[in-house]
Symmetry: C2
Subunit: 461 residues, 2 copies
């Protein structure tokens, strides 16, 4: 048996996620994001296709770097409007049994005491199918509207995030011992008070003395996703992440990253192969190569470059409207520390990207690779990507929704299953058990596991 | 036709809401609060019974006033563990069509920019069936764990809440004009940028310059519930509330409150009859009076007084363990400014409540009235309460769940319908339309309506 490929669908509670303009494509339902019907049907479709999870991106701000205005974002619905993602989960969870849900929440804008309760609640309600995609927020507009005095520097945001995780581990892992909840109807005791501990956290950023408000959920700590590609982001991932989400455009740079990242994980005392790495990926599949090419041509006729420039400028912090279309992007890059852009320059040092080329590149499928072809060709691409990079799976973005997912499930999944590259059924258990085939809890060697209480005190009499 | 009585079910995402000990009663499902199955079945049951809404309480803290410890709360599961309420909504909304959802969120612990997006999202996903129960948080343990330097005074919390609402109105009512979202597929324009406005809010507590992140939801502003009984609470309600939730134990004090409250509402330039007032209420109904009395006796044998004392001490801020059981409560009340306790002393100035009597009183149904009887007797009680107090309806708490609701729907609802005191079917529309039989938006005379943009600017070409 070959290595099975992991697959999440990548979506966002908004109209335009990664393909500006395609909401106008006939049959596309992206504008139905406001309805539970859209999400419940999508979840059922993904479970039919045996997807591991649905991965939901989020931003709490607007893309206003391009032309220093939110006009492009509004006109093109480029991640604006954008609704809150956790509100979607319970309807989808009730309609499915196995599908996992990865939800993006920023450590820069939340309080860990309230946040930890929210994710314990979601883990309870989904029977342990929740993952948290940890982000620190890159949009300055978010900080301003949330009343932060300043948009914290990259390093400061990761410093906050690190302590935020520490508080969460203490609440999730350490506050309520296993066996604290006895539900003893005879004695009339629900919880043994001496097995529930105040965490007494007093740090640089947070002060949380009390006990966790939720009883332990199936996974306690949700599965931890992280996407940092910068130096502090990689250090954070090596310490905390169980799954890493990347968006490298080429196998070359992806392979280089995987090698370095696994070494960095090993340096933290963790099994480097135990961390799953997912790359962004957008397939355009037809029954034949020709049909796929025709689809691509159709899609391209709906692409909107203002929307793409808006997203790219927001992601990188560079207002591309200030430059000529034919200007080489690496010239601009020297003025920026943003990690997103580094990927382009590091990835392919010989290629001279122009502003125009970059915007065109991201207009379908964002920063990640797009593959166009027959089911076999798409499966080939995926197989080779995994083999050549050492990655474990993909976060699959859509061009049209649910069309991209439906096509992929109809045409590519059977080919992958035929090659023994994809599971034919779900295994039992929580999201963590399904992904790692081990415990429903954090592995013992994980940083967060140190906060567990192992003492088994006398039970209350 | 008589006046129809409004009915919400009153629950909380926890084990023990208002009746400590009853989670051990045979068949009680309160301990199933962690499962979607419990909530979806409850929502369907309530919709079958034509309840207007499900009203969800919440606290972000623990009850640790009694004996200065959380031991009572943990042992008796007295609102601890307590999970997050908004996570429940989408599953229940998908399983129902008409039931409204009132959700408690505190203005002391949230950021209005993020909060407004969350409630717009819920209003979208429920097709306009969301209400917000505005609270300012009374548990000091919450503030400590959320990193606030101090537990703000009562007056300060309402000052913050007032500005919080102002920011929300600006985002919900003023930021996106009607007609801003055009979804023009021909021109490739989703939103007209010149019809979306930054709110430029800069106040004492919040600074929010930007645009709202969500497009307008069916109700824009959710239906606004508020429960303040103190002087600043009443002033806040007179200005902001569309529905008021009270928990008066007797008709006498309830009638007095209603009279004063409606006068205060009129003084704000609002129609005093347009605000719906709901009192806490717990029915114990049998097919006969005798059967109901037997049920009560059964329930009382499961009541837990440690849990009741824990809740009462938390609500009032008075550690009743410091007093003798037979000590009169009004002696203690002189040392307290808490509004909850004032209700007892104001309500019945001739009655000398002892500590023991008060704890016994709140052990079934919290601070509100409990009625025990045949379906006709319960209906009589409700009819007389509404007639004599000038109130509009009830937030109905349970003794056992879903038993109390199921019994009430089977036995009392038909009697109320027979008397034309309760609707036989839902009307169409949003929660606000169902409650007020008018617009899905805030009424024009509501304070929040002033923030609407009426200008119809030139459309973008």
């Amino acid at each position: 048996m070959g290595k099975h490929i992991y697959l999440n669908a990548f979506d966002m509670n908004c109209v335009v996620h990664q393909t500006p303009g395609l909401w106008t494509y006939p049959g596309d339902q992206a504008a139905e994001y406001k309805t539970l019907d859209y999400w419940v049907k999508l979840a059922k479709l993904l479970e039919k296709g045996k997807f591991d999870g649905l991965f939901l991106a989020d931003v709490l701000g607007v893309y206003d770097v391009y032309r220093k205005s939110n006009e492009g974002a509004l006109k093109q619905a480029a991640q604006l409007p954008v609704n809150e993602p956790t509100a979607l989960i319970s309807a989808m969870a009730y309609a499915t049994k196995h599908l996992g849900f990865g939800v993006t929440v920023s450590t820069t804008y939340e309080k860990p005491y309230a946040f930890a309760r929210k994710f314990s609640t979601l883990d309870h309600l989904t029977n342990g199918r929740i993952a948290w995609n940890i982000v620190t927020s890159y949009l300055e507009s978010g900080s301003i509207n949330l009343g932060l005095e300043e948009h914290f520097t990259h390093a400061t945001r990761y410093d906050i995030a690190d302590e935020f995780l520490e508080v969460c581990y203490k609440l999730w892992e350490g506050s309520w011992e296993e066996g604290a909840v006895v539900k003893d109807k005879e004695k009339g005791i629900f919880t043994l008070p001496d097995r529930v501990h105040p965490i007494n956290h007093k740090g640089k950023w947070f002060s949380v003395p009390g006990v966790h408000l939720s009883e332990p959920s199936p996974q306690r700590t949700p599965v931890l996703f992280q996407a940092g590609a910068s130096a502090p982001g990689r250090a954070f991932a090596a310490k905390h992440a169980e799954c890493i989400f990347t968006s490298f455009p080429t196998k070359k740079v992806a392979a280089d990253y995987v090698k370095k990242m696994r070494a960095q994980i090993a340096a933290e005392g963790r099994d480097p192969q135990s961390i799953l790495i997912f790359n962004l990926f957008t397939p355009i599949v037809g029954r034949t190569e020709k049909e796929a090419e025709e689809k691509l041509a159709q899609f391209e006729s709906y692409v909107n470059f203002e929307g793409a420039a808006t997203l790219f400028s927001g992601w990188t912090g560079i207002d591309v409207s200030a430059y000529e279309p034919e200007q080489p992007i690496e010239f601009i890059a020297t003025n920026s520390v943003r990690s997103a852009l580094e990927k382009f320059t590091i990835s392919d040092p010989d290629r001279k990207w122009t502003v125009e080329e970059v915007v065109k590149f991201v207009s379908i499928g964002g920063m990640g690779p797009v593959t166009v072809g027959s089911p076999e060709q798409v499966a080939d691409f995926m197989e080779e990507w995994i083999d050549d990079t050492g990655m474990d799976g993909f976060n699959m973005a859509y061009v049209t929704t649910p069309g991209t997912f439906a096509d992929f499930i109809d045409l590519v999944i059977p080919v992958l299953q035929e090659r023994d590259l994809f599971k034919t059924d779900y295994s039992e258990g929580t999201y963590r058990e399904k992904l790692f085939k081990k415990s429903h809890f954090l592995p013992d060697e994980h940083y967060g596991a140190q906060y567990r209480k192992t003492s088994q005190k006398e039970s209350l009499t």
